[in-house]
Amino acid sequence: MLKREPYRNRIELLQGTLDLLILQTLQWGPQHGYSISQAIRANSGDVLQVDTGSLYPALHRLERKRWIAAKWEVSENRQRTKTYRLTHAGKKQLLSEHSRWKRLVEAMAGALNPRSKQA
């Protein structure tokens, strides 16, 4: 069987942060895939543009890990829409990812700017 890995590298690059961003975005309530990407973009001041090719795989992966749950609804113009919400396990994961991110930021800052730490 062929091993295909077109997008994987990019996903893996983003993986840690993208998961965190998605979980963080869902903290304020259930959302669609599209609105998640819009929220991330808006909240980051248009700096972070989440590629759909990364977003949907990430959403499905998180769903499989049961950190988020999906629900199908029929909208008023009778179209099926899928919304994601944070699960209990997802909330725990969000907390641990938060602290991990904080450690990473501090470590990065220390590594990039050793003098400021000494000061």
């Binding site: 069987m1 669609h32 895939g33 759909t52 949907y56 099926r80 899928k82």
Partner: protein, 397 residues
């Protein structure tokens, strides 16, 4: 397309719809990227794609095969032939070599073969079977049989059933015990005996639903009423390997069932196979003393039992003593001589001492051959010149 794929389609459509509302369809599509690729990457997250991909490969393979039917046909045919031939060969090997007849002590069963004009034959006439069966000092039991098909039932529902004609000693020779009633006995195989039949356990189950009252029932075989006397044990379906015989009748019943074919029971037609149990201690190659059997096969023969030979009876042969000058008998029968010439001397020397020990003058009344190859199992393959020579072949090696 699975339900999950539909969901993913809907989800992506939803995304595009929402994006189009914000920025217009064109830019939404551009921004979204390669839909098929994204779907595929997303699908990979479901975790069961290796199986799904295998199914895809399978479908692809079938499409490919449909595109080139000639190749497909060749491949399928050669595979079918290969597998089929192997299965067939194994079935045969299994039946011939690996399975034993489900009878008592099958290793001790032998088949009797006769060499006539140098050619082996396993067919004998009914009188010869009778005569050989009487050689009680050689065979503890000996029986002849032949596969046959019988029309069973009344005129409006005749069923052609595979069966066998057997001589009276058949079941006794095989050492089988009935599960019900009794089996065919020598008394059933006498001229004028009432026709009786024995059915297999399998036939009893299929046709009579294991009815315990089947014994004594009369059925029509070839429009002649025949009494069922018993059921043979489970697993046994005839002594011919690979050939089922569901119902057996004594050979003498030929007279009642086929009045026009009583010639079958005369010395002419040779149509019966013979299986026998040699007396314990009778080796495959004892070669002394002679027994005259009555006028039986094609001409009169002297059955030289221990020698396992049949000699054409000519008036002088019984009185010819083995020449004293040639104790090994080589001169009398060219077989051993020719074998030696072909470099078979080892076989001869192997059999010599034992034979010499038994060389008492009183037994020297018949011509003896030094044909040691009869001693071994390959006799059927090696000895091909003696005329009217009886050989034994082990049923199970």
């Amino acid at each position: 397309m699975s339900r999950r794929d539909d969901d993913l389609d809907d989800e992506i459509r939803q995304h595009l719809r929402m994006a189009a509302e914000d920025r217009g369809e064109e830019s939404a599509r551009r921004e979204f990227g390669n839909v098929a690729l994204i779907k595929e990457v997303t699908r990979e997250m479901w975790g069961w794609t290796s199986l799904e991909r295998f199914a895809q490969d399978l479908r692809y393979a079938f499409r490919g095969m449909r595109r080139s039917p000639a190749f497909t046909l060749t491949a399928v045919l050669s595979l079918a032939l290969g597998i089929g031939a192997n299965t067939a060969i194994f079935t045969l090997i299994d039946a011939l070599l690996l399975r034993s007849l489900p009878v008592h002590d099958p290793q001790r069963l032998i088949q009797v073969i006769i060499y006539q004009n140098g050619k082996p034959s396993d067919s004998f006439s009914y009188p010869v079977v009778r005569a050989l069966a009487d050689q009680k000092e050689l065979f503890s039991a000996l029986a002849g049989f032949s596969g046959a098909r019988f029309n069973i039932g009344s005129a409006d529902s005749v069923e052609r059933t595979p069966g066998a004609w057997v001589s009276g000693e058949y079941y006794q020779m095989l050492g089988l015990q009935p599960v019900l009633g009794r089996l065919i006995a020598p008394a059933d195989d006498k001229a004028g005996a009432t026709p009786v039949a024995v059915i297999t356990d399998d036939y009893w189950r299929r046709r009579f639903a294991r009815d315990p009252h089947v014994v004594g029932r009369t059925i029509l075989i070839e429009n002649v009423p025949v009494t069922l006397v018993g059921v043979s044990p489970p697993g046994f379906s005839g002594a011919n390997v690979g050939e089922v015989a569901e119902i057996t009748l004594p050979l003498s019943s030929n007279t009642q069932l086929f009045p026009e074919m009583t010639g079958r029971l005369t010395a002419g037609p040779q149509w019966l196979r013979i299986l026998a149990r040699p007396r314990p201690g009778l080796s495959m190659c004892r070669r002394e003393s002679a027994h005259a059997t009555p006028d039986t096969q094609s001409a009169a023969h002297v059955y030289s039992g221990r020698d396992t030979r049949l000699h054409r009876l000519d008036p002088s042969s019984q009185s010819i003593p083995a020449p004293a000058a040639d104790p090994d008998g080589v001169g009398r029968d060219g077989v051993a001589h020719r074998l030696r010439q072909r470099g078979e001397s080892t076989a001869r020397s192997r059999a010599s001492p034992a034979a010499r020990n038994r060389d008492s003058p009183s037994r020297r009344r018949v011509p003896r051959t030094r044909d040691p190859t009869i001693a071994d199992r390959k006799c059927a393959a090696r000895v091909h010149r003696g005329d009217g020579r009886l050989c034994f072949r082990r049923v199970h090696k």
